[in-house]
């Protein structure tokens, strides 16, 4: 990335204001939902636990400030320090394992001046930057095997460390980079394989492995009837079938022997194999009740009884969408989903209009991460995906999460803001 520019500070006009407006729309919507979830008529402003609302306000202020700093910083900074930031993130992740504080069942927190921070959140944009730097490099072609291996390495390193911290949800987020890789040259069938792996994983828990293995064998034999039976095709079909058989068996083995009881029971509840409305199923059941009771237009702001009276656990963090569903109903929920898709489209749009590969790859990383969070979080509150505790970007209560998503998005805005300078530069 070589360019010559005199003035490197973006003019206000060059910032993508639409994205900025969407960002503040979600942040303020989140703040209101957090307020609603702790609101009490008797004490509108104080509540034993109601400090969340004030804390989130402080975090919005901090995030806005950091966002402004990012917009003011030289855009080359991110390119230059991409690997350094990645290295720092990895170091922090390892540090947390060694001396982090345990909170909510995972060892992923460090405490600084009373605020708990989760380095895993910051590893997301650091990894995105490192991937952009590496793949965006001059003459780097994704079709190159070596390039592929290094890319996977960059993704798996933080993923494994975070898994060690017992933060399965956050670790899975790193899998979302597959969408960016698809844009950069990963063949489309990888997305399909990824989908199949997820589907087979679920099926192998639902159906007895023996039946699944027989079905895989039957499908493989059927396929052999319809394709040309040369040596190569037979080997591929055989190999894929064998790989799936191995995968299915290992999923079961992992499920039975490696997973922890609370994870097992969450998955069992979701798959309908276990009914436990007081235990693992309680969250999801109460979440569905809250959303389902919203009806067409909802109960009105601050009128939601399920959230207000704390029937939904984790309502201000992972289950924030319940408040939207209950108080603003179907209309509000659909509006929210459409707005979110609009933001995702805008991020893709911004990414695609970049002249530099680094910027574009980073943009796709942002879209991938936001999409993954959106899917898993809302899917979980609607009871169609397992309870994996990851926040809804910009809305969920939590400083680390808000700050990291702000940084993630604002770096893109900063990179994008430069396109006008680039144009200007080329004319001058």
């Amino acid at each position: 990335m070589i360019q010559s520019q005199q003035n490197n500070t973006p003019k206000p006009a060059s910032i993508d204001w639409l994205t900025l407006v969407l960002y503040y729309f979600f942040v303020i919507a989140g703040l209101l939902c957090i307020y609603a979830s702790v609101y009490k008529e008797d004490h509108p402003f104080i509540y034993d636990n109601g400090m969340n609302y004030g804390k989130q306000l402080i975090w919005i202020g901090i995030s806005s400030f950091i966002g402004l700093l990012i917009l003011l910083v030289d855009e080359k900074f991110f390119y230059v320090f991409a690997y350094a930031l990645y290295g720092m993130a990895i170091a922090l992740l390892i540090a947390v394992i060694i001396m982090g504080t345990s909170f909510r069942g995972s060892n992923s927190w460090i405490e600084i001046a009373g605020f708990r921070l989760q380095p895993a959140e910051f590893a997301k944009f650091a990894t995105a930057l490192a991937l952009a730097r590496f793949l965006g490099g001059f003459n780097t072609k994704f079709s190159d095997k070596k390039v592929q291996l290094i890319s996977y390495g960059l993704i798996f390193l933080p993923m494994v460390i975070i898994l060690l911290q017992n933060e399965t949800g956050t670790a899975l987020v790193f899998g979302s980079f597959i969408f960016m890789l698809y844009r950069e040259g990963l063949p489309g069938y990888f997305l399909f394989i990824g989908f199949m792996i997820a589907l087979m994983g679920v099926l192998s828990l639902l159906i007895a492995p023996l039946y699944l293995i027989i079905s895989i064998g039957a499908i493989a034999l059927l396929m052999l009837l319809f394709i040309r039976r040369n040596k190569q095709n037979i080997l591929i079909v055989f190999g894929v079938a064998l790989a799936f058989v191995f995968y299915v068996s290992s999923v079961n083995y992992l499920f039975e022997n490696v997973m922890q009881p609370h994870q097992k029971s969450r998955i069992n509840v979701l798959l309908g194999k276990e009914v436990d409305l007081k235990g693992a199923g309680y969250n999801v059941q109460q979440s569905k009740i809250a959303i389902g009771s919203g009806g067409l237009v909802g109960k009105g702001f601050l009128q939601g009884t399920q959230n207000k009276f704390r029937f939904v656990p984790e309502q201000s963090t992972d289950f924030i969408f319940c408040t939207v569903g209950e108080e603003f109903g179907f209309a509000g929920s659909v509006g929210f989903i459409v707005a979110y898709l609009f933001l995702l489209w805008r991020v893709l749009f911004i990414a695609e209009r970049q002249r530099y590969k680094f910027n574009r790859i980073y943009g796709y990383c942002v879209a991938s991460i936001l999409f993954f969070h959106f899917t898993i979080n809302i899917g979980m509150t609607l009871g169609i995906l397992p309870v994996i505790g990851i926040p809804l970007p910009f809305l969920s209560y939590g400083g680390s999460s808000l700050l990291s998503f702000t940084i993630l998005l604002f770096i893109l805005l900063r990179l994008d803001a430069n396109r006008i300078n680039e144009l200007k530069g080329s004319f001058e």
Partner: protein
Amino acid sequence: MDSSVKRTILFLIFCAVGIVFIVRLVFLQLLDDSYLRSAQNNVLQEQTIYPARGLVYDRNKELLVYNDAIYDLTVIPEQVKNLDTAVFCKVLGITKDDFIYKFEKLKRSKGYAPFRPSLFEKQLTIPMYAAFQERLFDFPGFFVEVRTDRKYKHSNAAHIMGYIGEVTDKDIDRSNGYYRLGDYIGISGIERTYEKELRGVNGVKYILVDSKNRTQGRYKEGQFDTAAIAGKNITLSLDQVLQDLGEQLMKNKMGSIVAIEPETGELLALVSSPTYDPNLFIGRDRGNHYMELLRDPDKPLFNRPVAAPYPPGSIFKVLESLVGQQEKVLNPATSYGCHQGYLFVGCHAHSSPNQLRGAIAISCNGYFCQVYRSIVNNPRYNRVEDAYNSFYNHMASFGLGKKLGVDLYGEGAGFLPPTSYYDKVYGRYRWQALTTLSLGIGQGELGITPLQMANATASVANRGYYITPHIVKAIDGKPNPNPDYNIKHWSTVDTSYFPIVIEGMQDVVERGTAYIARIPGIEICGKTGTAQNPHGKDHSIFFAFAPKVHPKIAIAVVVENAGFGATWAAPIASILLEQYLTGKHDTRPALVERMLNGNLTHRNDSVATK
């Protein structure tokens, strides 16, 4: 592939997820309203407000039944913390094993949830409650709930009052959702027959609760709440003083007393002996007391006056005299001789022959066997059955052989044998007067409840009609709304046939078999009965009304296995008549003393009739 196509594909994947979410939302929010109901169940708690049950007074405005506060210990298991079990058990007077057992039982019970209040111990005693209230802060999670229970001021008239108890599943099903588990309902007596009036109407209060079941306030400022409506107060026709005296007189005897005001059908007293203290059926040990009473061979729970059929014995002769006249086979001058009986029916020694009035006075069996024979073998009818049917209908018009419709639970019909019964026993056309002759002296298959006896006496006192006997005079100050309690049920015997029979009944007391019942200054008309029965010694029976003109009271007394009617039943009836008509019973202290102290329970081992 073109890069912008890849962007489109990715965005389509994003949109696909969005569409899946929206479809899911359609199901959750628009199509399925069970979530809305669940949400309401989550936060809305319906609290039932129980109204005070109606009070009960006697005819002289004496309070009989009122409500008393009782204290139930409830627990919200989730909130129990750092419980000092030893202290707790000491206050409650239970052992540690009891404590563990109670908790285990609680956990297994239907609808148990750790965050919901459950009944831990029913009906604390007052000292227990006091001790508890003092130390309640030591036992977080435990609460004392106040309810009301019945209290009986005079400890008598148990069979009239009945009792209340927890509803059964059947009651709940029948009530269309009015009753809930743990509610109380009238099980017998007026508590049962007047349940709807006494209970009032439950109120409902909707409160909002949070996920820990903590109250968060009223729902919509209480606009959907309804106030409880207190139960109606009931005035009984019972005379508390008479009832009490009746129970005293029947102490250590088995049997019944029924007293009716003939003009109105109002029951003045209704004694079933042996009886029990109705206060046994409230409080902590009600269950034990109930079982004890249930196991008692003397059947104190059995409501004899309304349910037990007795052979009436000679008092039946009064009704026969009326029916015979109506059927024109008997007139005051009809004379039959009696030489210590008729055919196989014996009679005591007395002057002979007698006319109707004299025959009643001395209760001549021979005379009334002939009367019965002339009624059933009446040549005016083609067949014996027709004649007997006519006899049957006359008797039924006095209220025999059927339920009268008294407002007390468990009324029996007694037994007045219809022709079909004799057809079955002897075969059709194969019976006649002599076959069923014992009916002529009130014996045989005939069964009449004391209530029916008293009602028949009232009919005679009224010279031909009765009003269905009832115990409730007024509800909330207004007369008993049951229309049946205002209707005169006329008998099929003409009023003109009554005077001669009444003269005979007066003679019974003035100079006949019940001379012992005579009270100077009061014209009493009565008839003794000595009913043979398969359960042991004869039942002593007496029915009477007084005064002769404008009768104020009709009474029937049955003392089981006590011998002649004149020995026990007549004196007891006489004392009660005196009490009711003069307000005191002190003119014959020796007689009263003898009756009060008479102990007939250990004379034989026989069990009560039926």
